[in-house]
């Protein structure tokens, strides 16, 4: 049944040309530049492939697709990275981040939620703005929000289920894939909350809120999805952070405590362990199911 058929030569040739033209990096004037001197002018090249319309020349017609391609993808990228957008403003985001990023990492998935999956890597390699580490952390938080929204649900550990409670003492525990953990020099979640109250245009003519920094230690935050599918964040202690990190890849309770001992934090953690586990279980953050095994696709 599923025998694949070879595409006709004309299809490959015309579509390859089309794809090269529309994905050519957009300039600030939104015009399609000459693609390459070896191809001659855009006008000449377009007229070899595209017929004129009653009102438009071939190069003007292909330019519509070029603009649509870039405007659509840049809009989607802005929507996926709303904090990074507000730090830069639309023009700077589009032309200093969006266009070069998408030129380097064109989309390779039908899923739009994956459009920005290489942006953090790209920022690490190419970002030239001030405070690069803050910008990258902002992008990480934006990305985590996008991923958390549609991550799979594992059956949560139930405190009402005695058998599960017993298993939790011996079997590996896993953190829900929708939960993301952060260790940061600055309290970027508080910052984000204030920045997100205004649109990006507002921040082009107003000073950004002050960034809270703790000189003594890092800030630890968990971003997670509630049982009502709302995204929440809260500050956690260093001990909680380490425990939850250990559950990301699956760990028995006993091993997790040994892990804390390695960090000389067991004395600090032990008096609170029962309460933390109760809270995490109520919030549905833990599971006995390995996310790599469970397929919960719709």
């Amino acid at each position: 049944m599923n025998v694949e058929h070879k595409a006709p030569k004309i299809l490959i040739e015309e579509l390859s040309w089309f794809a090269n033209v529309i994905s050519f990096p957009m300039q600030k004037d939104h015009k399609l530049p000459p693609i390459s001197s070896s191809f001659g002018t855009l006008e000449k090249m377009a007229s070899d492939h595209i017929a004129p319309s009653p009102t438009l020349q071939p190069h003007q017609r292909i330019e519509i697709y070029h603009q649509q391609y870039w405007w659509r993808l840049l809009r989607l990228l802005r929507e996926s990275f709303p904090l990074l957008l507000r730090l830069h403003g639309i023009d700077s985001f589009n032309y200093e981040i969006g266009v070069p990023y998408l030129a380097r990492y064109p989309s390779t998935s039908w899923s739009l939620s994956l459009l920005g999956r290489h942006l953090i890597k790209w920022l690490q390699e190419h970002y030239k703005g001030a405070h690069a580490s803050i910008a990258i952390d902002c992008a990480r938080i934006d990305m985590a929000y996008s991923e958390s929204m549609i991550a799979k649900d594992l059956p949560p550990l139930s405190i009402k289920d005695e058998e599960a409670e017993q298993r939790a003492l011996h079997d590996p525990l896993f953190l829900q894939p929708s939960a993301h953990l952060f260790e940061m020099e600055y309290h970027l979640f508080n910052f984000r909350q204030k920045v997100m109250e205004q649109a990006s245009n507002y921040w082009q003519c107003h000073p950004l809120p002050l960034l809270q920094r703790n000189a003594m230690s890092s800030f630890y935050v968990i971003l997670y999805r509630t049982k009502k599918s709302l995204l929440c964040w809260k500050e956690i202690s260093h001990c909680q952070y380490l425990l939850l990190v250990s559950f990301q890849s699956g760990m028995r309770l006993e091993e997790a405590i040994a892990y804390l001992e390695k960090h000389h934090l067991e004395k600090e953690a032990l008096p609170h362990l029962q309460q933390w586990f109760h809270e995490w279980t109520v919030e549905g953050l833990l599971s006995l199911v390995d996310p790599k095994e469970k397929e919960t696709r719709c």
Partner: protein
């Protein structure tokens, strides 16, 4: 009007008038459960692992029929069909129980890159054979009726061997699949390419139409752009009035995807279709 379209897979119901399910309206729909006949979803928005989209879809399915409409199949792409994508699409059809699935007669994928747009194909006999075979494979794999939608387009290839309606008709007939006819797209393309819309819809197998799309567009002077952000213009309603009776009554859907108006206003705009459907009843 309870006309049923007969297909090799059985009969397909006329669901009445529907609107596209879009985020700005979720809360109101789930709270008030308005008397809307059915909703169309963009399949890809719900082909996710979990979270809010799945929760919303389950809640909608408790009260309304849902039909799946996709944007990423890339039926005309030279790349092999993406069976990981098709597997997830099929899994979603089991959840929604959609009576048919549609996507576009377009390409948006090449050498692994996705362009996230509905890009036009060269209208040649070779391309007809290629696309028709793939469309047949898709319908067989999904095991439910499959429909292809005509595009709004802004270019035509110099190597085109025929008109768009000849190309579209040949593919659906050769593949033995259905048509999702977008009457706004016929109008937009008629202006952009300079043809008479009547010539388009008088020369396609209207008996294969399973669903009609209505939408608004934007006028940029030298061309029209299919933006789905405005009211349906009179010329498009005229096409609908001509086409609808000749389909013997099929499901009709209003697409509104940007510059959103209220749910009530969207539904009222969609309901204008009833005026034209009355002609069939009379």
């Amino acid at each position: 009007m309870n006309h049923c379209l007969l297909t090799p897979n059985g009969s397909i119901p006329n669901l009445g008038i529907g609107i596209g399910l879009r985020i700005p309206h979720y809360e109101e729909i789930l709270r008030d459960k308005p008397a809307i006949d059915w909703f169309e979803i963009i399949s890809e928005n719900f082909m996710v692992d979990g979270g809010k989209p799945i929760e919303i879809l389950q809640a909608i399915l408790e009260h309304y029929p849902v039909v799946q409409h996709g944007v990423s199949l890339a039926i005309g792409s030279p790349d092999p069909l993406d069976f990981d994508y098709l597997k997830r699409l099929k899994e979603l059809t089991k959840v929604t129980k959609t009576p048919w699935v549609s996507d576009h007669l377009s390409w948006g994928r090449l050498e692994g890159a996705h362009y996230h747009d509905l890009l036009p194909l060269p209208y040649t006999k070779e391309v007809i054979d290629y696309v028709a075979k793939r469309a047949r494979i898709v319908q067989d794999y999904l095991e439910i009726p499959f429909a292809l939608e005509n595009l709004s387009s802004y270019v035509s290839f110099k190597k085109d061997e025929m008109k768009e309606w000849e190309f579209y008709s040949a593919i659906v007939e050769k593949a033995d699949i259905l048509m999702m006819l977008d009457v706004n797209n016929i109008y937009v393309s008629s202006i952009n390419h300079g043809f008479d819309p009547k010539e388009y819809y008088n020369n396609i197998p209207l008996e294969r139409v399973v669903q009609i799309h209505l939408a608004g567009h934007s006028n940029y002077g030298a061309y029209l752009l299919d933006t789905h952000d405005n009211y349906v213009i009179d010329e498009v309603w005229k096409i609908y009035a001509d086409v609808y009776p000749r389909t013997h009554g099929v499901s009709t859907l209003l697409e509104w995807d940007d510059n959103f108006i209220s749910l009530q206003e969207t539904w009222e705009e969609a309901l204008k279709a009833k005026k034209f459907q009355a002609r069939l009843l009379s």
